[in-house]
């Protein structure tokens, strides 16, 4: 009983820690894509750990099945939602006024799209051989 409580509380506190890190990341990181990275990965793991803590602390068949369904659904949908927001924020960046962090050094979508990176950024017109400044 005690071991069950300790394991459950540990899982719940770990999940809460990840959720707090996700909120901090969304508040503090400098551009949309980094905020997306913090929100999706840390948020998903935090909610999944909280669900595991609930399943450990209150063991019942109904709780197990619904907890498993919730975690499975989160793992299926969170990457899809993040991919769609990131894609929309990339292709609609001029219309939406999305800016990118000034320390960004590479954009892997450039070859695919053929345009230049964010127009407000200097030194991006083929002068990448001059070295990656941080």
């Amino acid at each position: 009983m005690l071991v069950q409580q300790v394991v459950g509380i540990f899982l719940m506190c770990a999940g809460t820690l990840f959720v707090v890190v996700a909120g901090l990341g969304v508040l503090r990181l400098p551009d949309v894509y980094m905020r997306l990275h913090a929100s999706t990965k840390a948020g998903t793991l935090g909610v999944a750990l909280n669900t595991a803590g609930l399943a450990v602390l209150h063991p019942a068949l109904g709780t197990f099945t619904r907890a498993a369904a919730l975690v499975l659904f989160l793992l299926l949908t969170a990457p899809i939602a993040a991919h769609m927001i990131g894609r929309a924020a990339y292709f609609a960046r001029d219309q939406m006024g999305v800016t990118i962090w000034e320390g960004t050094i590479v954009d892997r979508m450039l070859d695919h799209r053929g345009g230049t990176l964010f127009a407000s950024r200097p030194g991006e017109d083929g002068s990448s051989s001059s070295g990656a400044v941080s």
């Binding site: 459950g8 509380i9 927001i85 929309a88």
Partner: protein, 101 residues
Amino acid sequence: MAALSGPAAWFASACLVAVGASLVMTVIRLMRGPSLPDRVVSLDLVAYQAVALMLIYAILTGEPAYLDVSLVLALVAFLGTVAFARYIEYRSLPEAAQSSE
């Protein structure tokens, strides 16, 4: 299914407060976010944090009904995020491409 008591309940209450503080940070970004995608990202995270809040409350009180509520909220949040993403992406197309679709 019994409510927690003793130190376990204190830990659960502390976790509730921590997730609430994280919710406040996300709402600050939701109000301040310079562009629409920022707000969509933080709205998505607000839904996840509400799910986490309900899960911790279910742990604290031993009410399994909150698990159903969080399942439905996760589903609705996913649909809302996808709708916002499609709106952002297709609003950026030129007029000709929009009318031909």
